[in-house]
């Protein structure tokens, strides 16, 4: 379990992380979301002791990361897959991790196989790696110590669709076996598919957190009708506003049952009525972080 308590990190006048408190629970995948520069990476660096906090604490199973006797055996960390010596081979980088943690020699080959890096690829120098291969190597470094906590910053970055599916299954399996997984991503669809819990951060502050189902419920309902203007009028009359959604559908904050009743009373036939999903997270994300978006998108 990862416990972040009142964590603040300032750089001069700039507050990168502002009084952040959340938990990543055991047996669950926690998605850490936020626009670029929101403070995700800084928070993750504080967790693993690379950045000292200005105040507050970040604990792994109740202990500071620096107090773990052999951290790689307990916490798998991937902060930046590109942060590797370009002149080392993939196998060598993994061997350095294996040696540091004091693992048996065979674990390197086993791990290379697990992340699907071939012998040929493993013997190439990292400067010749694609981003996806670097990610696989970074994930291998995180996993090789068989840790029970994973802290991954944008692990799906650069992976091909099969790689993303593989990563998803891997993290799901990890959480199901009682591990704790915290991953940040800006690939909202990825997070939505895999995460059990969500923490949304903007401008260094937490703007929302909870289980995915709780948060997405708040994202509303999508409704579609051949008589959309009629439906909008009926909803307006009932005190529910809607915002246009993709392909002429409507998204409203009212729940499905209310909309169904309103539509029935107004005699409008619905062609679709469902909870907002995929784009729901996107909507929620943009709405929650509207003040912090560079583009100034109003949700």
């Amino acid at each position: 379990m990862i416990t972040i308590d009142s964590l603040t990190r300032k750089y001069g006048d700039f507050t990168a992380v502002d009084n952040v408190t959340f938990e990543a629970r055991t047996g669950r995948v926690t998605g850490f979301l936020g626009p670029n520069g929101a403070g995700k990476s800084t928070t993750m660096r504080v967790m693993v002791g690379l950045t000292p906090p200005t105040s507050g604490s970040a604990l792994i199973d109740g202990r500071r990361f620096a107090d773990l006797p052999n951290p790689g055996r307990e916490v798998g960390v991937l902060l930046d897959a590109s942060a590797q010596h370009a002149g080392r081979t993939g196998r060598e980088i993994l061997t350095i991790a294996q040696r540091t943690m004091g693992l048996p020699k065979g674990s390197v080959d086993a791990m290379l196989e697990r992340v699907s890096l071939t012998d040929n690829e493993a013997n190439r120098r990292v400067r010749n790696y694609s981003l996806g291969m670097r990610q696989r190597l970074g994930i291998a470094t995180a996993l090789i110590g068989d840790p029970h906590v994973l802290i991954l910053d944008e692990p799906a970055n650069g992976l091909d669709p099969a790689g993303i599916r593989w990563m998803r299954d891997l993290l799901r399996g990890y959480a199901n076996r009682g591990g704790t997984v915290l991953l940040s991503s800006h690939l909202l669809h990825e997070i939505e598919v895999i995460a059990d819990d969500l923490v949304v951060i903007g401008n260094g502050r937490i703007v929302a957190q909870g289980t995915k189902s709780e948060l997405l419920e708040a994202a509303g309902t999508v409704v579609r009708s051949d008589d959309l203007p009629g439906l909008v009028r009926a909803l307006d009359a009932a005190g529910h506003s809607g915002t246009p959604y993709a392909d002429g559908a409507l998204r409203t904050d009212a729940d499905a049952s209310t909309i169904g009743k309103v539509a029935l009373a107004a005699g409008v036939a619905l062609t679709e009525l469902r909870a907002a999903d995929g784009a729901g997270l996107e909507e929620m994300f943009l709405e929650l972080t509207a003040d912090t978006q560079r583009e100034g998108v109003a949700a």
Partner: protein
């Protein structure tokens, strides 16, 4: 059979073990072993290390080819070999430190071993060890050159470097490595620290020399505050009590204090 039964019972009697295995702390020797490996495992690192042996061979060959017969002594070989090595060894120390920042490997290194002082200590031990071993390798290459060279010319083989003189030369080279190490932790950037080394080792002594030639007061204290100048006695093999005191004073000023500042920065700096 009974033994098996007892074992089974014992296992069952234990409370359900939900705690995870307790891992032993990482010993410093293991960290040092990894750091040693990291010095050799890139092409640039490997060739930098190999260049110690290669330049020693080249210098030895050059002495055999070009030195006048009456100067074909072990000291000539030692001096010829010593010069390139005195430049290469500090580079080894610099890159061992700055690579973690310039190549951003520190992100992994300091996460796997979250006590930076242990990583830095391991690097220091390994760098000094590599320096001392290199000096002995160079010493052997020079000795072989001396035997071979005098055999070719048919002159007497002269061993005019004493054990004490050799140990002074080793000390001077270790100090050179520590200077590199100091610049590494202070600057934490490979090109910056290498440039810093050349300014420190070649520009500063020149400035000091110019100042001493024009200012009498500076000339009087130069041996006490010019670290490079104070190391001269080590290469001449004549270390008086005063020479040691001068080395210590100038060394404190130009090595110990900046090293302490650099170590402080390494401990607190953010690794990105």
């Amino acid at each position: 059979m009974s033994a098996v039964t007892i074992e089974t019972t014992t296992a069952v009697d234990r409370p359900a073990d939900t705690a995870r295995p307790v891992h032993a702390p990482i010993p410093l020797a293991r960290v040092a072993g990894v750091e040693l490996r990291k010095m050799f495992d890139t092409r640039s690192g490997f060739w930098l290390m190999a260049s110690i042996g290669i330049t020693a061979l080249l210098a030895t060959g050059a002495v055999i080819l070009f030195a006048p017969n009456d100067e074909l002594t072990y000291e000539t070989f030692a001096t010829a070999i010593g010069f390139p090595i005195a430049v290469i060894l500090p580079m080894v120390a610099i890159l061992a430190v700055t690579g973690e920042w310039s190549q951003r490997t520190g992100l992994t290194t300091f996460t796997l071993v979250p006590h930076r002082e242990r990583v830095i200590t391991a690097k220091l031990l390994v760098a000094v060890g590599v320096g001392v071993v290199s000096m002995f390798v160079a010493g052997v290459i020079g000795a072989l050159g001396n035997i071979l060279g005098t055999a070719i010319t048919g002159t007497d083989t002269i061993w005019n470097v004493s054990a004490v003189e050799f140990s002074y030369i080793i000390l001077a080279n270790v100090l050179g490595m520590l200077i590199g190490f100091m610049l590494g932790v202070l600057i934490r950037n490979s090109p910056g620290a290498i440039v810093g080394y050349f300014v420190y080792s070649f520009l500063l002594p020149t400035l000091s020399l110019l100042l001493a030639s024009s200012q009498q007061w500076f000339e009087d204290i130069q041996l006490w505050i010019d670290f490079n100048f104070a190391q001269g006695a080590l290469f001449e093999g004549e270390m008086s009590g005063e020479a040691w005191a001068q080395l210590a004073t100038a060394g404190t000023l130009w090595l110990v204090i900046p090293l302490a500042v650099g170590l402080g920065l390494v401990m607190r700096s953010e690794v990105k």
